[in-house]
């Protein structure tokens, strides 16, 4: 059944304890680094989209140490618990949220069998633990003893609980195609870019977009960030938090962003697969003639590819966040219950029908057609982008792009 990656090297039972600790440490370390990188990325992306520079001062050319500095600052900040707060709930809330988000990483395969816990029902497990994150949010909101936080928490809870349903259903669409809930298995079935489930049939194609929308909402990302709507609720559920606990809340948020992106990458975008029809670990095992070496080298590449895909999706979320305006809470709920939920149910039934009714030849043709059309659209979009990229986004206002001779801004054009 499940195997720990390093199990092939060590046979002593004592190692299991050590290995478990190492694996957990690696994962939490990765999650931390990923969160730090994401925060930095978010600020840069926000800056670029809003026609400004973002962090520039700390740490070399792109201000890449900025988040680290912020983290340091947060760690040494005074830890304040409001008098009206429920001490215990106030303390425990952020950790529940973080635990929910972190536990999801446990089942997320970064490469071929490069996974903390190879579960048969990994995708269900991930959805389950990520759904417990919301409980932490509620406790944070309730335990703060503040109206802003309470409202934020309640909104958040309503929103996340609602969006979980279409999200889970859309995830089931590729599960039906794959016939497995094992993420490793699902990824291995998507070797070759045209075999990515995104292109498998019209329903999975639509399911991807639906899923991604739901995922953004359940990560309370804009335009669905009602829980922390600054104009209404100050900072929402984490209004009363500061210092390390605040940091934990944010780690949980960025962690779950990465996790849902990971699910999207695995379920629809071929996971760690580069898009070649061969599994890299097998390829390198063939080249080196050594299965273990192949596993190491191949998985190193796989990991880079997978993390790249996830960060790209995270980037898309940021892009959306800084592009679209925020919805009203009723609009958010309506979007979910009136549109996304029926759509996801339709997709689920549709894909089941597609699989059962159509002969394999037709399905293959449809798959190739969707792949071809998507690629064509992508190429056209890129061409269009290349054709227009020369033009400065002109608003008539002097902006960063035109400040050719301004000194002090390291990102400015020279």
């Amino acid at each position: 059944m499940g195997t720990l990656l390093f199990a092939s090297f060590f046979s002593s039972p004592l190692w299991y304890y050590l290995l478990a600790i190492i694996a957990a440490a690696l994962l939490i370390g990765f999650m931390l680094v990923s969160a730090i990188f994401s925060v930095w990325l978010e600020r840069k992306v926000a800056g670029r989209i809003q026609d400004r520079l973002g962090p520039t001062r700390v740490g070399g050319k792109f201000g890449w140490l900025q988040t680290l500095a912020d983290g340091m600052k947060l760690l040494v900040k005074e830890d304040i618990i409001p008098a009206s707060a429920d001490q215990m709930l106030f303390r425990v809330g952020p950790y529940i949220a973080l635990a929910g988000s972190f536990t999801a990483f446990l089942a997320l395969p970064f490469g071929n069998m490069l996974v903390g816990l190879d579960l048969n029902i990994a995708i269900l497990f991930m959805l389950a633990v990520m759904s417990s994150e919301v409980f932490g949010i509620i406790l944070i909101g309730y335990g703060s003893g503040s109206k802003w936080a309470l409202f934020g928490g309640m909104r958040e809870a309503a929103q996340m609980v609602s969006y979980e349903i279409p999200m889970a259903i859309t995830v089931l669409v590729p599960v039906i195609v794959a016939g497995s809930m094992n993420l490793n298995e699902i990824t291995l079935q998507q070797r070759g870019i045209w075999n990515w489930y995104l292109f498998h049939d019209p329903f999975t194609f639509c399911a991807f977009w639906t899923y991604f929308t739901c995922a953004m909402a359940s990560c309370k990302r804009a335009p669905f960030d009602l829980a922390e709507a600054e104009s209404e609720l100050v900072a929402g559920f984490h209004t009363e938090y500061s210092g390390f606990r605040w940091l934990v809340i944010f780690m949980a948020e960025y962690g779950s962003m990465f996790a849902v992106s990971g699910i999207a990458a695995i379920m629809f975008l071929g996971g760690w697969s580069l898009g070649l029809p061969w599994e890299l670990t097998d390829v390198f095992a063939g080249i080196t003639g050594n299965a273990t070496a192949g596993l190491w080298i191949g998985n190193l590449l796989n990991m880079v590819v997978f993390i790249g895909k996830c960060w790209f999706l995270v980037f898309v979320m940021m892009w959306v966040r800084w592009t679209l305006p925020r919805l009203r809470i009723d609009q958010v709920m309506m979007t979910c219950l009136k549109y996304l939920l029926p759509i996801s149910c339709f997709l689920l039934i549709g894909v089941a029908t597609w699989q059962l009714v159509l002969p394999p030849s037709v399905r293959t043709i449809a798959q190739l057609a969707i792949f071809g059309l998507t690629m064509l659209g992508l190429v056209l979009a890129i061409l269009k982008l290349l054709a227009t990229a020369k033009d400065v986004p002109g608003t008539g206002m002097p902006s960063m792009w035109q400040m050719t001779n301004v000194t002090g801004y390291q990102g400015a054009k020279q």
């Binding site: 299991y16 579960l119 497990f125 389950a128 509620i138 016939g179």
Partner: protein, 220 residues
């Protein structure tokens, strides 16, 4: 075979202590929100126990349904009915004493009963794999040239799913059908249907009960 075989004692004791402790804390605390929080930990611990027992599907469902759904519901209930931010209704110590005494009595009786049953060891491998129906996907579910190895790797979830779809998955026992001895296995389509309908009815009933009503005073 659980993935945790080698770690089982350590993990069991850890999780069991957390679960039991949280359950006790859940009983002891006066604050209802905290009680719910402790319950959450107890439930999460229970799901850990399920994972430990190799029932990962049940564990995941426990997390999804209980922790993700029921607990949210409970907390919503707490918040919707709370008059103050932290409500606690204290019970008299006499009642406490009686209840705890009765509880301890029950626990001791149960412990004795538990100690009286045999001590089976877990089977070395899954017997499901032996008698579970051939877990291949339906024709056309896979592309040409691909085997259906996927299915056989996960006997539990596959078998449970098939059981719910009406395939016989229970242990085989012989029965005389029309004068012929036949091997019969239990399947769970009917309970599944009943539960589905029950769930629907319960949801509609809950929605009906909980819908916003004007109070009597307001009507006058």
């Amino acid at each position: 075979m659980s993935p945790f075989t080698n770690l089982e004692p350590f993990l069991f004791w850890t999780i069991a202590c957390i679960t039991g402790g949280c359950a006790i804390a859940c009983v002891v605390t006066h604050n209802i929100v905290r009680s719910a929080t402790w319950l959450l930990f107890a439930l999460a611990g229970t799901s850990g126990i399920f994972f430990l027992l190799g029932a990962d599907l049940v564990g995941a469902i426990q997390l999804l349904v209980y922790v993700g759904g029921t607990m949210i519901l409970v907390v919503f209930g707490v918040m919707l009915t709370a008059q103050g931010p932290f409500i606690s209704m204290r019970t008299s110590s006499g009642e406490w004493a009686v209840s705890v005494a009765a509880g301890l009595l029950l626990l001791s009786v149960l412990s004795v009963a538990i100690s009286k049953i045999g001590k089976p060891t877990p089977p070395s491998g899954s017997t499901v794999a032996q008698y579970a129906p051939k877990t291949t996907l339906a024709e056309g579910m896979t592309k040409e040239g691909e085997t259906n190895e996927v299915a056989s790797k996960s006997p539990y979830s596959m078998a449970i799913g098939q059981g719910f779809l009406g395939v016989g998955v229970g242990p085989a026992h012989k029965e005389t059908v029309n004068g012929k001895e036949t091997v019969v296995r239990a399947s769970y389509l009917l309970p599944f249907e009943i539960v589905s309908v029950h769930l629907l009815v319960a949801l509609i009933g809950a929605a009906y009960l909980a819908r916003a009503k004007r109070r009597k005073e307001a009507a006058v």
